[in-house]
């Protein structure tokens, strides 16, 4: 693989690390959900900076070009992160529904209580 693309990839990953870390520090994103992105970055850096490692895997899987191996790897990890987000969104949907229902039930109880106390007066 060309040294230029290796450097470009490494620089992009390091910039992304700084950007994400800064967002976590400002509490704009949850640390919990950034860990998979860090893992993606670290795996990618390893493949990018250790050519024998990358070439070995490329041959093992049966891909012609190492660059294609990197793209294959990225898509694989992105699918994993994407699916985990589907799971997280589903959980949030359920939580939100439950919360709305609980809130409405609470409002109804409170309204009845207020009506009762009015009637007493």
């Amino acid at each position: 693989m060309n040294i230029r693309i290796q450097i470009i990839i490494a620089v992009i990953i390091i910039l992304a690390f700084i950007y994400i870390t800064n967002l976590v520090r400002k509490k704009k994103v949850e640390l919990k959900y950034t860990i998979s992105w860090y893992v993606l970055g670290v795996v990618y850096l390893l493949f990018d900076l250790i050519p024998p490692f990358l070439n070995g895997f490329t041959r093992l899987i049966g891909i012609a070009l190492p660059v294609n191996m990197l793209i294959f790897l990225a898509i694989g990890i992105i699918f994993m992160i994407l699916f985990s987000q589907t799971v997280i969104i589903s959980r949030h949907t359920q939580d939100l529904k439950k919360l709305v229902q609980q809130n409405a039930l609470l409002e109804e109880r409170l309204r009845k209580l207020e009506e009762e106390s009015h009637e007493k007066e």
């Binding site: 870390t21 976590v24 520090r25 949850e30």
Partner: protein, 234 residues
């Protein structure tokens, strides 16, 4: 000083009543509040039948969110200090009064009950002690202060730290990173020796599968918290 004991409880039907009764007996100057984190066992029924002071979270939100609910409650009811105590009976309430005395005497903002000053009582498993030791060194590197038991949930906080935690508190595994945050923001943190017991019932929230995630998350979270700047002048 008006003190509050925050007891997060998730499926603690076997221990919660004894925990509360022990606090009433051994730490009479403290009020308490149980935060029931949407337990699926009979925790809620036990709390209601025995008229224990409690809050039911409508959705299971994790230990951090449960404890933070307690800090918000402490803030709203203007308590002078609040301490977290696990609902499983591991923490011994007889140390609470001593923690409060230490806080008043030394003007500390946070007093941590540590198992590893006198090394008495239940010392946790070997693997956990290794983890705790690692955090001791890591937190020393980041803050310059030695905290022998950063994972201890038994921590007494004053008003300033209650306000801080009411505003923002991590959702899972909150203890070590919030210690770093509090030290870095310039608050005074102290430790006193306590003894803990092995849990009498229920299960630990951390199993082997989660420990790797735990170590990575907490190590990293401590690092990020160490960017905090001093907020108060001491």
């Amino acid at each position: 000083m008006k003190g509050l004991v925050i007891i997060p409880a998730f499926n603690e039907e076997g221990a919660i009543l004894n925990t509360v009764r022990a606090i009433e007996k051994e730490a009479p100057s403290f009020d308490y509040i149980v935060i029931n984190d949407c337990s699926t066992d009979h925790t809620r029924q036990i709390l209601e039948e025995n008229w224990l002071n409690h809050i039911n979270l409508p959705i299971n939100s994790g230990i951090g969110a449960a404890v933070q609910t307690g800090y918000i409650y402490a803030k709203n009811n203007s308590y002078d200090c609040a301490v977290q105590m696990d609902g499983d009976g591991q923490h011994d309430p007889k140390f609470l009064e001593k923690m409060m005395e230490t806080m008043e005497r030394d003007q500390a903002d946070m007093v941590i009950g540590s198992r590893f000053i006198e090394n008495k009582g239940f010392q946790s498993s070997r693997a956990r002690r290794m983890g705790i030791n690692f955090f001791k060194r890591w937190i020393h590197t980041l803050t310059g202060q030695t905290i022998t038991d950063a994972t201890s949930g038994m921590r007494l906080c004053d008003r300033a730290v209650i306000n801080l935690f009411a505003k923002d508190y991590p959702r899972d595994y909150p203890e070590p990173e919030t210690v770093v945050e509090v030290i870095k923001k310039g608050y005074k943190v102290e430790e006193i020796p306590v003894e803990m017991k092995a849990r009498t019932s229920g299960k630990s929230s951390i199993n082997i599968n989660k420990s790797i995630y735990y170590m990575i998350k907490v190590t990293f979270a401590c690092f990020i918290q160490s960017f905090n700047k001093k907020e108060i002048n001491t």
